[in-house]
Symmetry: C2
Subunit: 338 residues, 2 copies
Amino acid sequence: MALHPQKKVTASTSSPLETLSARLKGDMAAVNAIVLERMQSDIPLIPQLAGNLIAAGGKRIRPMLTLAAAALFDYKGGRQHKLAACVEFIHTATLLHDDVVDESDQRRGRASANALFGNEAAVLVGDFLFSRSFQLMSEDGSIEVLRILSDASAVIAEGEVMQLSTANDLETTEAQYLKVISSKTAALFAAACEVGAFVAGASPERCAALRDYGANLGIAFQISDDVLDYAASEQRLGKSLGDDFKEGKMTLPVIKALSNATTAERAFWQRCMADERQEDGDFAQELAFMRKHDAFNASLADARKYAEKGRAALALLPDSALRGELEALITFAVERDF
Amino acid sequence: MALHPQKKVTASTSSPLETLSARLKGDMAAVNAIVLERMQSDIPLIPQLAGNLIAAGGKRIRPMLTLAAAALFDYKGGRQHKLAACVEFIHTATLLHDDVVDESDQRRGRASANALFGNEAAVLVGDFLFSRSFQLMSEDGSIEVLRILSDASAVIAEGEVMQLSTANDLETTEAQYLKVISSKTAALFAAACEVGAFVAGASPERCAALRDYGANLGIAFQISDDVLDYAASEQRLGKSLGDDFKEGKMTLPVIKALSNATTAERAFWQRCMADERQEDGDFAQELAFMRKHDAFNASLADARKYAEKGRAALALLPDSALRGELEALITFAVERDF
């Protein structure tokens, strides 16, 4: 039979995320079934609101990491499915809580779950999913898994609060930014990888290597995300650009552009980011300043260093096709344009 | 040496809550130390916001139940202290999330943590405390404790969402109200008692009896709370009356007053509770309708039935001074005027 050369071309041009999705298709279907089953409740608003967010999809990169980590050690059991669902629930709860809007934000008219259902409902459904995650862990029965994921949850909350504290603060340093993203993003990537390796019975050294890979992937992914919030083609990202700018969020490209800013530029950043008094044309102006100081390339250069560290962590493991795909994923996390 | 008769008089006139507090003073000090230590974080806003709420005190009735349940079985270990702190953290997180205000609410100017620090911070610090609770459980190391407390957390969230769904809905039934308070309040009272008995090594039957006591105490306590929100002396409650009325919360006295309402009264409830169009004098008018239909006494009569069930659950245990104090506590939960 022919190899369907056209299909082959499609496959070879697919992203590493698609390649991994294809490899882990059966596992992901099992995870999705658990997610759908466990977001159910007698209280109709819960599946309605949670389903709205979960159906929207997203990349599902975190649960996929748990599955990939387990597969990397040839795990044949089924524990990784429930734990990947735990990871997805924690992530979904975080999204719901992250979008909680104060009065001033609400005026900007974000069409989040919070805008649709109200802050209170979004927060409480987030709590429900968070609790569901810990119920699933109790069913899994491992205190070590509970330790890994409850530690990650606490660190995520700390990162989110720190991000709130540094918003609008032009003095925010690169070190503070790194602490924020290491906490709010990389902690769950790391934990997702670690629990996958752990249930597969990997040695402590290999669990640590997977954790290390996840943490560096998370940092690289978030830096790239923060660059894309300014620089992506609006169409490909599927969401409006400049959200971070509007919120005065101190991300890496801003910090880099600020570090070399002239007095006039600094006054501009002060007005737009610190005072949040933005006018038409500010976003274009700010992009011009970023390009002038090469802030996007400098940020992505940093991201590439973390990608390199992540690949180095994987090098501790035996070579395999899956390992190669995880290496490709971390490169993709930086180089993607959506 | 004399028995300090004056002290004795003070003790005999103190509330059952004070008697229990005095008995468990050393244990409560240990719990408070854990709470203070574990709410710390490198991110200053976290202890600042959490401390604000925790310092405000409250009755600390939930952690005390864990301590009392463990003491009832002569437990000599120290696990109950961490677990009582877990219970207190879950409760504090719930309070922070329960107070999340939407735009319309914020105008009423509640001086909650949310009003002081903003919705986002309050939600994220709630998440932090919630995560801390699960970290403490991982340190304790019992999957059964995790099961009890994660089940309670999920049920609490369901109860809170259901309460949101029934707000402003004049068709809310007593059965729905009971489901709401069984979930949002009684589930944590029950779990607090159960984990105390469990770590003390009580038999499954006795753990179930304690759980039963806690659940009935929680229902009785919440019905009384809902009556007091209308009927308490403002000075003794230490908070303004009528919050439930302002929010259109369908509590038992409202449901009872509605069930016998005339057409004119129903129109009044429709305007005030369903449409939330309230005018000066409405609160006094609504109190008059409640008194006319004896809604407070009818509600408290229901609460007394749950108190009776709670006392019956305790009757399965050997008689002791502490058991007597827990019996007195459930009576006090209904009969208190603050």
